[in-house]
């Protein structure tokens, strides 16, 4: 027993020395220290290999020889080893055995003979690893070939995406165009590689990581998948565009590009990336850090390409007509943020997620910039030529229809305006803030634009020399604004108060029209001391003149036109009826009444009904 115990102790000492000593010299030094520590050790420790050792060493040689034979056969095989599952599993077994052998014997490498064997073993391992790497790449590529990117697997059954799960979206596009068919259901995961291949690859990964060749493996994996992703994106019609190219693009082309981008981004974030994540996790199962790193390598380029385009859109022109497409991009990125967060949650991918958020915010800025540009356009719209007949001004129609369309994205816009921390220039907004503290930033924004529009219109009305025509112009445009506001989101944004105020303004313009246009004529119909004959003559001329002028004016809205006519009639007809009723009894006129009264009350009414017809082809506006 004592003998045995000592033997064990000595073995232990030897083992410690080998483990601690990185080099043979160090091991010797450590053994020396042990020997000096206890004289009894000296002899034992400096002994040659024990019988047991030499026996097991012989076994090592034997094993290595046989492994060499087996592995070399595979390493030099001219055909893919994985084309035969018996071959591949036998090869893997040999590799396992080799890795195990190296692991078990490395502590004993202080022995010269063992060390020589280990050299041979490591040499063999390297050859096996290179072959594994080749087989890995080959399986990846072959697996990839069997997969057709235009066919997405949906659960158990594989079918083309353009069949049942996409609705009316897809027209019968020419199949020759190498662009993937639009899909509407993104809730699918592709198995980019057949399940069997995935298992094979995972088995290879295990060996390559165990053999210390994990980096090569991960590199081979990422390169191959990255290429697949890039090809997928280009099949989705996505081009690699620089900022400069995007700036120079025709807007209509850019619109098409945005459409394609939206589809591609959805496919990438909802299908391709999660599929890659799953594939990566399966192939690198058990090696989460390698899986995360490889996944990042795979997706990095494609994600950056996707996000770069958004950047280019965000810094592009702020022309108001771009709003709607930029909103689409904004909404797409916003709706994809959860996907970004889900798929890029690990430490390596975090920067991609953050970048997506940055760009999303930048799109919000771009949208605010577009509104600012709209404001500028309204403010700067020159009051050069008057719209004939005081009709609807194109700017009114443009702005109102623009805002109506914009308000269809009310929720998004509210989000965008909420995002803007502080109004950039206090001067512009302060007034508005005081008035509507409770309303949203977007109502403030819209109300502000309405105010700009109205002051621009007021400036424009000044170019009419005829003051009643100013009123007609303001009524027309004001009426249009109210109508456009009333039956849509704009109404609820601006509020009932706002609408009431506008109506009140319209009434003021109405009154002002009446006064400036008719009060003088109406005054002539008062019976006072003056000559009735003169009065009537004067009335006739003026009435004639007004009708002639105002029949060319325009009231685009039928109801308003009727209101206006009947209010004119309501004021004028009774006064006129009264006036001509008095004439026969007047000594001045007497029997000559017939001669001087040019219009009957009915005639007058008929003429009034001819007002605002926009005669002379000067119609102010189609509705």
């Amino acid at each position: 027993m004592a003998e045995n115990g000592e033997e064990k102790l000595i073995q232990m000492a030897r083992h410690i020395a080998k483990t601690l000593g990185h080099t043979d010299n160090m091991t010797d030094d450590i053994l020396q220290i042990f020997s000096n520590f206890d004289g009894r050790f000296r002899e034992k420790l400096s002994e040659k290999l024990s019988d047991e050792d030499s026996r097991s060493f012989a076994a090592l040689e034997q094993t290595l020889k046989s492994l060499d034979r087996q592995i070399s056969r595979y390493v030099s095989a001219g055909h893919p080893i994985w084309s035969d599952s018996a071959d591949s599993s036998s090869f893997l077994d040999s590799v396992d055995e080799l890795i195990g052998l190296i692991r078990d014997w490395t502590p004993m490498s202080g022995e010269k003979n063992v060390s020589a064997c280990l050299d041979r073993a490591e040499d063999l391992l390297q050859q096996a690893m290179f072959r594994l790497e080749d087989e890995f790449k080959l399986s990846m590529e072959r697996g990839g070939e069997s997969f057709d990117v235009t066919r997405y697997h949906n659960g158990e059954s594989a079918h083309p995406s353009y069949s049942s799960d996409s609705e009316d979206q897809d027209k019968d596009e020419d199949d020759e165009i190498p662009v993937a068919h639009p899909i509407s259901d993104y809730n699918i995961i592709i198995d980019a590689l057949p399940s069997g291949t995935i298992n094979d690859l995972h088995e290879i990964v295990k060996r390559m990581v165990a053999g210390g060749y994990g980096k090569e493996c991960s590199h081979a994996y990422s390169s191959c998948r990255r290429e697949f992703l890039e090809e997928s994106l280009s099949r989705l019609g996505l081009q690699k565009l620089s900022n400069d190219e995007v700036q120079k693009m025709q807007w209509s082309d850019l619109e098409d590009e945005i459409e394609r981008w939206i589809k591609a981004a959805n496919v990438a974030l909802r299908i391709l990336f999660p599929s890659e994540r799953r594939l990566c996790d399966r192939i690198f199962f058990g090696f989460s850090s390698a899986a995360d790193l490889s996944f990042m390598e795979v997706c990095r380029g494609s994600t950056i390409q996707l996000l770069k385009f958004t950047d280019a859109v965000a810094i592009g022109s702020r022309a108001p007509e771009r709003l709607f497409k930029v909103l689409d991009v904004f909404e797409t990125v916003r709706d994809l943020i959860p996907e970004f967060e889900a798929v890029f949650s690990d430490q390596y991918c975090l920067f991609l997620r953050n970048e997506a958020i940055t760009i999303w915010k930048r799109l919000g800025e771009a949208i605010r910039g577009i509104f600012m540009e709209l404001e500028n356009l309204i403010r700067r719209d020159p009051a050069k030529t008057a719209v004939p007949g005081g009709g609807l001004h194109p700017i009114t129609r443009y702005v109102m229809n623009y805002l109506r369309a914009a308000c269809q994205s009310r929720q998004t816009l509210e989000q965008v305006f909420e995002e803007s921390v502080a109004p950039p220039s206090a001067g512009d907004y302060r007034k508005m803030e005081d008035r509507s503290l409770s309303s949203s930033s977007m109502s403030v924004q819209i109300a502000w634009i309405m105010e700009l529009l109205q002051s621009n219109l007021e400036a424009k009305s000044k170019i009419y020399r005829d003051s009643p025509l100013c009123s007609v112009f303001m009524m027309n445009n004001g009426r249009y604004i109210v109508q456009k506001v009333k039956d849509c989101e704009l109404g609820s944004l601006l509020g009932d108060d706002w609408v009431r105020k506008q109506m009140a303004k319209l009434r003021l313009y109405h009154v002002s029209y009446q006064r400036s246009s008719w009060s003088k004529v109406l005054g002539e119909l008062k019976i006072d001391g003056h000559s009735l004959k003169e009065k009537l003559k004067f009335f006739n001329t003026n009435f004639e003149q007004i009708c002639k002028t105002q029949s060319t004016w325009v009231i685009f809205d039928e109801q308003l036109r009727d209101e206006l006519r009947s209010s004119v009639a309501g004021n004028l007809l009774p006064a006129y009826g009264n006036f001509i009723g008095r004439l026969p009894s007047s000594p001045e006129m007497g029997k000559q009444v017939e001669r001087y009264v040019k219009y009957s009350v009915e005639d007058l009414e008929a003429r009034i009904n001819e007002l605002f017809q926009g005669r002379g082809g000067l119609a102010g506006g189609r509705k």
Partner: protein, 390 residues
């Protein structure tokens, strides 16, 4: 434009940038005697010229072996960010003045150049990623040869393979146009031969720009019509156009230096660089330009895929290591082993430097991108607003 050309006369011109403003001020004063002393705007603009000059003077004091190192490039980007920040303040303080000719033209042109610079930033980011791929090969070399129990043939073969991959990667960079042409093949790649495949391994890292994109052309586009403002324009704008011109020039130079240092598609440094030395910052910038250009003409750098010091070191180390792996015989002699250990140690240092340097560099390039966007957005906003108050 040899270096001596301006160094000889630099002294007399050093303060010219300031003097332009001073002369103008004198003239303004002679016309309007009620206004004495420099206005705060004038002081601000002069300070800007001075700060730009000082910063670039500091940058140009770099040792020739540190020029174009990652740390120097980072310093350069810092300088850019500082200048941009000061310029931003100037834009803000003068927001009402940028709507009038000729300031409006200058600032709009600056914004256009900025957009073009954004593409350079993106390309540089790709380039950094490219270097990262090389770094991975270095890592494998280290993995193969560093801290091994013993150095056998297997380890050398592994290292050699990584070195070859590295060489292909760096080569691919130099004539990316020819190799890129083959990239866009279809999914079915059944008959790819072995060589082709090993190349494919590297070609897969693509530029995120289209194949026709060219860094050289982009630089030209940034530099086009970049000429110093005329005296009457300076007068008319109270010197504001000088600040815009200065910032434009700084942008141009920084982008040029980035392209010089870092791999990107169709690099070309032959962009015309000229600015009258009346600006105090012109001397250090032109001297840097000259030094970098000279570096690019050196025999061993002429075909480099980037003048970054670390790239040269990668190339040097890889080359030496390559020669070494070709010359070794097994078993290794003791001398060889010592040599290998030495080389591995050197390679390790290069690897560490690249590994530690690239991430912060990329962040900074991104930051430059973001700041350019932000400053442009702010500028456009304030111009839009100022317009409407007229």
């Amino acid at each position: 434009m040899p270096a001596t050309d301006y160094q000889g006369v630099s002294a007399s011109f050093t303060n010219f940038g300031r003097s332009i403003l001073s002369i103008r001020r004198d003239q303004v004063h002679s016309m309007d005697s009620s206004n004495h002393g420099a206005t705060s705007q004038e002081l601000e603009l002069e300070a800007f010229q001075r700060q730009v000059a000082e910063r670039f003077r500091d940058l140009s004091s770099v040792d020739s072996n540190e020029l174009l190192s990652v740390s120097w490039i980072r310093k350069l980007l810092d300088v850019y960010l500082c200048c941009q920040e000061e310029f931003r303040v100037i834009m803000f303080n003068n927001r009402g003045n940028f709507n009038r000719a000729p300031s409006d033209r200058y600032i709009l042109e600056f914004f256009e150049r900025s957009v073009k610079a954004l593409d350079v930033c993106n390309a540089i980011r790709d380039g950094i990623e490219q270097i990262r791929q090389w770094q991975k090969q270095l890592e494998i070399v280290l993995c193969a040869l560093d801290n091994q129990r013993s150095l056998g043939e297997g380890q050398f073969r592994r290292a050699k393979k990584a070195l070859i991959d590295l060489a292909i990667g760096m080569l691919d960079e130099k004539d990316s146009n020819t190799t890129l042409a083959q990239r866009n093949r279809s999914f079915g790649r059944s008959n790819v031969n072995k060589d082709h495949k090993s190349l494919g391994h590297f070609r897969s890292l693509s530029w995120s720009v289209s194949r026709s994109w060219s860094a050289a052309k982009q630089l030209q586009a940034i530099g086009i019509n970049l000429v110093a403002p005329k005296a009457n324009e300076i007068m008319a704008t109270n010197g504001l156009v000088v600040a815009v011109f200065t910032m434009s020039y700084v942008l141009f130079f920084v982008m040029w230096a980035l392209v010089a240092a870092i791999p990107c598609q169709d690099r070309g440094l032959q962009t015309h660089f000229y600015v009258t030395r009346q600006f105090i910052w012109a001397v250090p910038i032109l001297s840097l330009h000259e030094r970098i250009l000279e570096e690019s003409k050196k025999r061993d750098r002429r075909n480099a895929c980037g003048l970054l010091k670390e790239i040269r070191e990668i190339e040097k180390c890889a080359c030496q290591m390559n020669e070494l792996t070709d010359s070794v015989q097994f078993p290794l002699t003791e001398d060889k082993e010592v040599e290998v250990k030495q080389r591995v140690k050197e390679l390790g240092l290069v690897y560490e430097a690249v590994k530690d340097g690239l991430d912060p560099l990329e962040c900074q390039v991104r930051e430059v991108f973001h700041r350019i966007v932000r400053s442009r957005t702010e500028g456009l906003d304030s111009m839009g607003r100022a317009n409407t108050h007229q």
